[in-house]
Subunit: 352 residues, 2 copies
DNA sequence: ATACGCCATGTTCACGTTAACAATGTTCGC
DNA sequence: GCGAACATTGTTAACGTGAACATGGCGTAT
């Protein structure tokens, strides 16, 4: 329990006041301007002087006052992230990736979570971050409502939406359509006559995209397109949706719009004594970390959320730093991860 | 595709430069000081003047320059959050709760994620946030290593650790010991002779605590204390641990240190044709949203992460705002959530 | 009627930094 | 050896806000 002697080391008068540039200057026997030059790596400082200044800075545990710097330079080097529900795996992953990349690029990240999904909440969040003087904002808002609200964001502050469909602002997103297409084609290639789809809530950008990919894959091979059952992304809703589907005669393959709902589906099928994949094949979407340990391990579509976050930051910095803005929309391809929840349908095994 | 006319409304000369206090003052025909008083709700402003100033502010879309304000007041109203892996459900939930509560209290939140779990990474993160002039820091670091590193945090900046055991700093945490005790006692009460424990990695604060609770519950009823098998929180490790346990004769109840590992356990048991709960009862820890939809729905210990986050913020603000600091450690009680993965053991049914 | 006090507002300054320009000393070319 | 270019350092002035103090006008108590 010894007293910690780190930092906050005594100034000359031990007056406890944080050292400022003038203090360093006095101790090093130079003007404050020379100290500023050392800090900003200005070339016009002799190495002898630089050493003296650095020593003084260390001795006083000097930290630059960023408020003063911001005031005079007009740059805050801060970015804002607006996010819906960072409890979800996707948004959480993107947030982490964004923060890492931002820090590497010398920016700090302030966050604002959305308490609701209406235009008002988005406006408040933008307002809040703007009042924090962020130089740019990344929104993780996979909802059509918030996407629409983006249209009303005050111009002037660089803005990027990740995982948010076609918007009035630059965007980075995983190709949901492609992922759904791949998943469905995988099931058809195994020999399933058609594929039932359990979709997500329609006010999320991903849901209609995934549905479209599924539908097009069926149409491309002239298959019947069954009715879509809609859930709300939760395991609970997947569980209920699956119970509805059990009555369908000949059902052998289900493409579920996310892994949580797929979990609910697996459970419902298990309860109904329906074997997966022998009786029914199931494909999910997202590849959450748990998916590989479902019963059975889930075939699903992996989205590289980290990459989405990094590219989103990249796109934002292009705007912030005024680089020649490249294309306004970047698309990340997903990967189909085949595990144990899909196989050849029984009907096909029966009649070769 | 019409041009958006919102905000950024034209200044008098449409010179595009952001309006400052002086501009508002001129337009309203007052001094900048009166504008400042209106902004800060100073009482000594006549309502007529106030109206005029507010109108001018609206017309110019004036936003106060927080850097200037910070410079003169010395207060940033910013807090920092350091977090391990916000991809995990617990940390993510706490982060959201902290941000909400902070914004409500008028503070902004900057984040710093830890790329590694050593003392160096923690030091860097603290350094980074300090350089951002945060007024306080909350660390979400459930590791004994980072906890130990907290000891070396520079004094002077208020600090709180959430979910981090006994530390050199004020702490808020769920009572892990109690949760484990409740879980184990529940199994014993059902009639199981003893309970096997699959523990978490020992360098996490929670792991030894949960193990201790489990052990004490067994000892309290004079039961045999089996060897602990250790996993790494992942479903994969739970799966492997369970395979090791299958050989144990008479095994009828398992207390797993988190829900993900419990998921792996459920899968391993399923693969081995062992019925849960009929052959073996399983209890998890955390109550992640998916737990209710495992096969079978998982009996587990719920932690109120939101509450931990809020209390953590509360504790931090006590320090920041210099209130009479209350106790330095707050403990949140967990809840046992009984679902379908636990029941009376077969042995007991056999011989009544 | 006058002085006192209070209310509303204005003036001046400081916060800590960087930009712009000024002022040294130093070296090099011819 | 002298002027010009250069390297190094210093001086001054912003940046936009809030604190502290100053000012003026008006009502009221005496």
């Amino acid at each position: 329990m010894s007293v910690d002697p780190v930092v906050d080391s005594p100034g000359e008068d031990s007056g406890r006041r944080r050292a400022v540039m003038a203090d360093v200057a006095k101790l090093a026997g130079v003007s404050h301007m020379t100290v500023s030059r050392v800090i900003n790596d200005h070339p016009a400082v002799s190495s002898a002087t630089r050493e003296r200044v650095l020593a003084a800075m260390a001795q006083l545990a000097y930290r630059p006052n960023i408020a003063a710097r911001t005031l005079v330079t007009g740059r805050t080097r801060r970015l804002g992230v607006i996010s819906v529900d960072t409890t979800l795996y996707g948004p959480a992953s993107m947030l982490v990736a964004i923060e890492r990349a931002a820090r590497d690029a010398g920016y700090a990240v302030a966050i604002a979570s959305l308490p609701a999904l209406d235009r008002r909440a988005l406006g408040d969040a933008v307002d809040f971050l703007t009042s924090q003087a962020v130089e740019g904002i990344i929104a993780i808002t996979p909802h059509t409502t918030t996407m629409a609200a983006l249209r009303h964001v005050p111009t002037g502050v660089p803005f990027v939406a990740v995982e948010g469909g076609k918007a009035a602002v630059p965007t980075v997103a995983v190709d949901q359509y492609l992922g759904a297409f791949l998943a469905t084609r995988h099931l058809l290639a195994l020999g399933h006559a058609t594929v039932v789809h359990i979709g997500g809530p329609q006010d999320w950008y991903e849901a209609p995209e995934r549905e479209r990919g599924w539908r097009d894959a069926l149409v491309a091979e002239d298959r019947e397109v069954p009715e879509v059952v809609v859930g709300d992304w939760s395991a609970r809703s997947g569980h209920e949706a699956a119970k509805q589907l059990l009555g369908i005669p000949g059902l052998s393959a289900v493409f579920v719009a996310n892994d949580q709902m797929a979990l609910g589906v697996l459970r419902a099928l298990h309860e109904a004594q329906v074997s997966v994949p022998d009786d029914i094949s199931v494909v999910g979407f997202d590849d959450i970390p748990e998916a590989a340990y479902f019963t059975p391990p889930l075939t699903t579509v992996r989205q590289d959320f980290g990459e989405v976050g990094r590219q989103g930051l990249d796109l934002l910095l292009e705007q912030v730093e005024g680089a020649p803005r490249s294309r306004r929309r970047r698309v990340i391809p997903p990967d189909l991860v085949i595990r144990k929840s899909t196989t050849v349908p029984l009907t096909r095994l029966d009649s070769p």
